[in-house]
């Protein structure tokens, strides 16, 4: 094998050398033989003649030698490529169209595939990623009985079962698991990613931080490139506060300075010692989210995470950390699952001692080697749709180019017939034609890969889970190149094969003897072309429908998204706690800020709340209320902490009762405003005002007001049951302000900054934006989607039109004489147009029907990504049909018109 490869490579790459050797060798043979005969007494000429005679045809043997070394195939391929290049130069328009089509199709597919690879397939850069498992649990009732507060999970959409899936565990349970497990070699805990401000020597930086257990790095098998990792010893309350920096953050904020280890930085004003720098490419376990620094989980108070009980580390009912475990080699995952489940159940029963009936959670293990599945899960559908759209483009492109090649094959029929008459075997001709199409695909694909490479920075922007672009490692990798090379070869082959077979099918006789191309084209003769038209139309219909649905979704999202009025509103965040305010002083500060801002001319209403909308990562509380028929209802509710006049400032409908008031302050009776969804879930049809409910483990609250529903996180989900608490009774550190203005809110940025600066210049103000822009950012993914799929649709439609036009123009050209005869026999131009149109529209209609059926059948796949429009929306389907038919008509009209202009004399000239 090796010898063969060596000999072949020498033969191919040291060709001249090989040729010379071969000639020398044979020459030497002849000379020796001549000497032999001269020694026998022959004359020099006679001796040479005899030697030649005995040797045989040297040229033939040389050819055989080449073949023996496997060089001939390469030679022929070289010739084919040279010939193909010449052909391409001879038809520049055709080549340009084909190459552009290939470039777009292959480029788009490579780009999307690289995204799929980065998001869905890539393993974490940790030791033995396949051993990592993430723990999750399923429960029907939000963990009723043993969970009072949870952070990650509660999602039922992913599973057909009624159970909801949760990823959070309480910190005590995590500790219990880590200490008792025999099936896992290590168990680590981590939290979501939190924004924090880091003050370095040169200034403040916003950073994304994550809390992790002390054994996090060791458990994952990640070493630092500088300093040390976090250690279990750091994860104790008595240990000094330390942090490990992410590689990118180290570069960004410290310029890659190696002396950063040991330096003290201020994290939300608290001093933290940097002990190490993580290796490049390691971003923690949240795939797609950059992490700037890691802190031991005991420091959760430092960054005010979770926004929940301060005793989160010890409270067994507060479920907020996610858990990943490394399976011991050789242990069956099911054994490990059962053991972990038993440990969790026993812990709940013994340590928590639930006071009431409860269902035990069922534990499940999920693949953790590619990071937590949140990103994968979030993007699986969008990526599938994008992949399908680009795949469809590739299909249309293939059909299109196949159509073009088919026509070119027909135009070159005489050439091909001539070559086969001269003795070329059919497969040899097919190979030649395939070389041509593959070469086109390769050149186009090469350009496409460049396009994809150019897009590698842009693409992650397309997927914005929460307004922040994904941080993906999109550097080109070897197997992406393999992918695109394969894509080129396959597409070149796929779209070249049928035309090549068809072009070489015609015998020699009929074509060479005839002086002009075929006189009457039988319908069968065009079979290939019309099928391709139908395919292109069908795919375009699907894409047009999808594109329209996404565009309508985007428009719907923009106009009716969250349940409040976004116009003429400015939002920003303030964190007085970072500047040292605490307790009542903190609450007073925010009240003063509202009062001062309200006094600014042109400002109508000012209020503030715990988070802005759209928000990310809300906490949910288990709420218990006395139901309308006397039963106790317990379910999850969103909590939102607000200042007075919040609903007015946001433009949320106020239905009944009273608003939160400044009098609802520390020490006053606890009150809440609830939304309609909350009222319906907990109180049914009964009026909610005056009723009471309690947040498990807290004192009870009286409902004083009823407001309209608002969505907080996702536009597509149902508005969650929500209760609003006065911020003076449920304090938060940072607040999001909303300022309703009279004119363009952007004009108020400077005066508002000045007002707040006068109040206290040390309180940081950040995230200044108009509410409308906030929403734009939130629906950005949908917008990009709409753009992406509709441009794919436009491209497909354009290609389909080109295909229809090409096929038809070709068939008309072939039928020139027939049409001439018809004209001579009295057919009027309109009749000719009608005839040609009728014949050309048949495949369009077939394609349309298939496409509509496919769109109807596949529509439900898009359902989750649409908003305010059904996949089977009749208006959309009608519009798409009209658009496709109209485009096809335009594409078909030109050739039909040209056909009608054929003068009768043309029929004779064709002969």
């Amino acid at each position: 094998m090796l010898a063969r490869l060596r000999s072949w490579t020498t033969a191919v790459f040291r060709r001249r050398h090989l040729e010379r050797e071969m000639a020398d060798e044979m020459q030497a043979h002849l000379e020796l033989r001549t000497e032999h005969w001269r020694a026998q007494g022959l004359s020099p000429e006679e001796a040479r003649r005899r030697a030649r005679l005995e040797f045989g045809a040297a040229a033939r043997y040389q050819e055989e030698c080449r073949e023996a070394r496997g060089v001939r195939l390469v030679d022929e391929m070289r010739a084919d490529i040279r010939y193909a290049l010449r052909q391409m130069r001879r038809a520049p328009l055709f080549s340009a169209v084909a190459i552009t089509t290939f470039a777009l199709a292959i480029g788009a597919n490579t780009a999307i595939f690289s995204l799929v690879e980065a998001v869905l397939l890539k393993s974490l850069p940790v030791k033995h990623p396949h051993e990592l498992l993430e723990l999750q649990w399923r429960h029907r009732h939000y963990g009723r009985g043993f969970v009072s507060w949870y952070f990650h999970g509660g999602d039922a959409r992913r599973f057909e079962a009624k159970d909801r899936v949760f990823w959070s565990f309480s910190f005590p349970i995590f500790r219990h698991l880590r200490e008792r497990t025999t099936t896992f070699s290590d168990v680590v805990a981590f939290t979501g990613i939190v924004r924090m401000s880091v003050t370095t020597g040169s200034g403040a930086e916003l950073a994304m931080g994550q809390l992790v257990s002390g054994n996090f790095f060791h458990g994952l098998g990640v070493e630092t490139i500088l300093g040390r990792t976090l250690q279990p010893g750091d994860d104790t309350l008595v240990a000094p506060t330390v942090a490990v920096l992410g590689h990118d953050f180290w570069q960004r904020a410290f310029g890659g300075d190696p002396s950063v280890v040991g330096r003290v930085v201020y994290l939300n004003t608290a001093p933290v010692t940097v002990v190490g720098v993580a290796p490049r490419g390691f971003q923690g376990v949240w795939s797609g989210r950059g992490t700037d620094l890691w802190l031991p989980v005991v420091q959760h108070r430092l960054i005010d995470f979770p926004p929940a009980p301060p005793d989160a580390l010890e409270n067994p009912a507060c479920w907020w950390v996610r858990v990943m475990a490394r399976l011991r080699p050789g242990v069956d995952p099911e054994t490990a699952r059962v053991e972990a489940e038993t440990l969790v159940h026993r812990y709940i029963a013994e340590a928590q001692v639930p006071k009431e009936e409860y269902d035990l959670p069922r534990l499940a293990l999920d693949d953790g080697g590619r990071g937590t599945d949140t990103a994968r899960w979030m993007f699986a559908t969008p990526l599938r749709v994008m992949g399908a759209a680009t795949g469809a483009i590739l299909l249309v492109a293939c059909a299109n180019i196949a159509g073009l090649l088919l026509m070119r094959g027909a135009a070159r029929q005489r050439e091909i017939a001539m070559r086969s008459a001269l003795g070329a075997a059919r497969w040899r001709l097919v190979r030649q034609l395939l070389t041509e199409s593959t070469l086109l695909a390769a050149i186009g694909g090469g350009l496409g890969v460049l396009i994809a490479y150019g897009l590698r920075r842009v693409l992650p922007q397309v997927l914005r889970p929460d307004g922040n672009p994904l941080e993906l490692d999109m550097e080109p990798r070897a197997f992406l190149l393999v992918f695109s090379t394969l894509a080129c070869l396959l597409t070149g082959f796929a779209c070249g094969l049928v035309p090549a077979l068809r072009a070489t099918r015609a015998g020699v006789q009929p074509v060479v003897t005839r002086t002009s191309v075929g006189r009457v084209e039988s319908p069968r003769g065009l079979w290939g072309g019309t099928t391709l038209v139908a395919v292109q139309v069908a795919v375009s219909v699907v894409l047009v429908v999808a594109g329209t649905l996404f565009v309508r979704t985007m428009l719907n999202l923009r106009t009716q998204a969250f349940g409040f009025r976004p116009e003429k509103r400015l939002v920003f965040q303030m964190d007085a706690w970072l500047a040292g305010y605490d307790g009542e002083r903190l609450s007073d500060f925010y009240q003063q800020a509202i009062e001062r801002l309200t006094a600014v001319p042109g400002v109508r209403t000012v209020s503030c709340s715990e988070f802005g909308i759209p928000a990310q990562g809300l906490g949910r509380y288990t709420v218990r209320a006395l139901g309308h028929n006397g039963t106790i209802r317990e379910a999850a509710g969103h909590v939102h902490v607000i200042a007075p006049r919040y609903f007015e400032a946001m433009g949320i409908a106020f239905h009944a009762g009273r608003d939160i008031d400044w009098a609802d302050r520390e020490g006053a009776p606890r009150v809440a405003v609830v939304n309609e969804a909350f009222a319906r879930r907990f109180f049914g049809a009964a009026p909610p005002l005056g009723r009471r409910f309690e947040i498990v483990g807290n004192e009870s609250v009286e409902v004083v007001g009823l407001v309209g529903n608002v969505k907080f996180e996702q536009v597509r989900e149902d508005p969650p049951p929500t209760f609003y608490l006065p911020y003076r009774q449920d304090r938060r550190h940072s607040m999001t302000f909303v300022v309703r203005t009279e004119g363009d809110p952007r004009h108020f940025v400077a005066p508002l900054r000045a007002t707040l600066g006068a109040l206290d210049p040390n309180v940081p103000l950040y995230g200044v934006n108009t509410q409308e822009q906030q929403i734009e950012a939130a629906i950005q993914q949908s917008r990009l989607f709409a753009h992406l799929v509709s441009s794919a649709a436009v491209l497909a439609l354009l290609l389909a039109c080109l295909g229809t036009y090409g096929t038809l123009a070709y068939s008309v050209a072939r039928r020139t004489s027939e049409i001439g005869v018809r004209a001579a026999l009295g057919a009027t131009p309109p009749q000719v147009v009608r005839m040609v149109l009728r014949e050309s529209l048949a495949p369009v209609l077939v394609g349309l029907a298939i496409g509509l059926l496919a769109a109807l059948a596949g529509g439900h796949l898009l359902h989750a990504m649409l908003f305010g429009v059904q996949p089977t929306d009749p208006a959309t389907l009608t519009a798409a049909t009209l658009l496709v038919v109209a485009s096809a008509l335009v594409a078909a009209w030109l050739p039909s018109y040209r056909a009608s202009c054929v003068p009768p004399i043309a029929a004779l000239r064709c002969e």
């Binding site: 010898a3 063969r4 060798e25 043979h29 005995e54 023996a68």
Partner: protein, 113 residues
């Protein structure tokens, strides 16, 4: 000149391997060696030797090296590789089995059938 037999297909490769196995040879030398060991009974068109040599070299049965022949001429010398030696042994065995079988078949008489 003695009457010559035509070469059975595939036998040329075997003869070349055999010839080269007896010592490193250049192309013309291979021809002479074959003539010598077959007693000149087998007919080879001399040019056919070279594609066969190329084929065997391509398969890794032969190694080649440029050197100087007895009469001071530059020539390409072929030698047997380990793989070539194995192939020679295998093919020799096969050939002998075939030859024995064919000989037995031809020696069969109607009475014994």
């Amino acid at each position: 000149m003695a009457p010559r037999a035509d070469l059975l297909p595939g036998t040329l490769d075997l003869l070349i391997l055999k010839g080269v196995s007896m010592g490193t040879l250049h192309g013309y030398g291979v021809l002479l060696r074959i003539e010598q060991i077959t007693g000149g009974a087998l007919l080879v068109e001399q040019g056919a030797l070279y594609p066969a040599l190329a084929r065997l070299e391509h398969k890794g049965f032969l190694d080649s090296e440029w050197g100087v022949s007895d009469n001071n001429r530059k020539a390409k010398f072929y030698s047997l590789t380990a793989a070539g030696r194995r192939a020679l042994k295998q093919e020799t065995d096969d050939w002998q089995k075939l030859a024995t079988a064919v000989a037995a078949a031809l020696a069969a008489r109607p009475a014994e059938a």
